[in-house]
């Protein structure tokens, strides 16, 4: 049943599921971040750098941003569909948002992989 819903016959279902899965991924990451902040109590730049720099944590952080971009893309798309009735205007606005989100994703990757080790 679930598998059938995810085939090409129901393209919206995949987007629906993507929004939920990205939400779960982000919630898990944020809980992990909150736990790490509580346990390590970073007090300055050095501590903050130490918390963020392990490769696996940067990978999780990047996955968080991938989820965020996917989630935001789907969310903004729904909002535009509900309130922007001019199809051309909506298409243009959607492209602007798409480009912005891709830029944000690249930016987050650059931030994470240019962490300087002291």
């Amino acid at each position: 049943m679930l598998i059938e819903l995810l085939t090409k016959k129901y393209p919206g279902m995949r987007l629906w599921l993507a929004q939920r899965l990205s939400a779960v991924a982000m919630a898990a990451y944020l809980l992990g971040l909150a736990l790490m902040l509580l346990m390590q109590q970073p007090a300055g730049y050095e501590d903050w750098l130490e918390l963020m720099s392990p490769w696996w944590w940067r990978l999780f952080t990047l996955l968080f941003f991938v989820s965020l971009v996917m989630h935001a893309w789907l969310g903004v798309r729904d909002v535009f569909k509900d309130y922007i009735f001019n199809l051309k205007l909506r298409a243009v606005m959607q492209i602007v948002v798409d480009v912005l989100l891709i830029v944000y994703l690249i930016w987050s990757g650059v931030i994470l992989w240019s962490i300087q080790f002291s």
């Binding site: 944020l30 903050w48 750098l49 930016w107």
Partner: protein, 128 residues
């Protein structure tokens, strides 16, 4: 007779007199907070990059957030975040058919509002 009556039904689209039920308030706030978070993304990414770039930029950023106006901004943003987070969890719960009766949905809406207020208060207390 019946048809005549339905045609004469009064319309009320005055936003100031419409009283939304608590579930609808949670729902529209979920959407609005999502839009706010989307708009805040570049500022948040900029803050993340400044916090990691160098010790100098880190200190500049923390110095910036000593200002009460920016603290207020952060608290306002935390309202959007916590509401989107808790209302989102409520949606996920309903997606797996949990708390779906009207009574329970109202209860979980109120719970979301309570968690919002508590979390925002805790966040404000920590950063001030």
């Amino acid at each position: 007779m019946q048809k005549q009556q339905t045609r004469k039904r009064p319309k009320n689209l005055n936003l100031f007199t419409i009283r939304l039920p608590v579930n609808a308030i949670i729902s529209i706030m979920h959407r609005m907070s999502g839009v706010v978070l989307f708009l805040a993304l570049p500022a948040l990414l900029w803050a993340l990059s400044q916090s990691l770039q160098s010790e100098a930029s880190y200190l500049a950023l923390t110095g910036l957030f000593q200002h009460w106006l920016l603290k207020l901004f952060l608290i306002a943003l935390s309202c959007a975040f916590f509401h989107h987070f808790f209302a989102g969890l409520r949606h996920l719960a309903m997606d797996v058919h949990w708390m779906t009766t009207l009574q329970k949905a109202r209860l979980s809406s109120r719970l979301v509002l309570c968690l919002d207020v508590l979390s925002i208060a805790a966040f404000a207390f920590v950063i001030w």
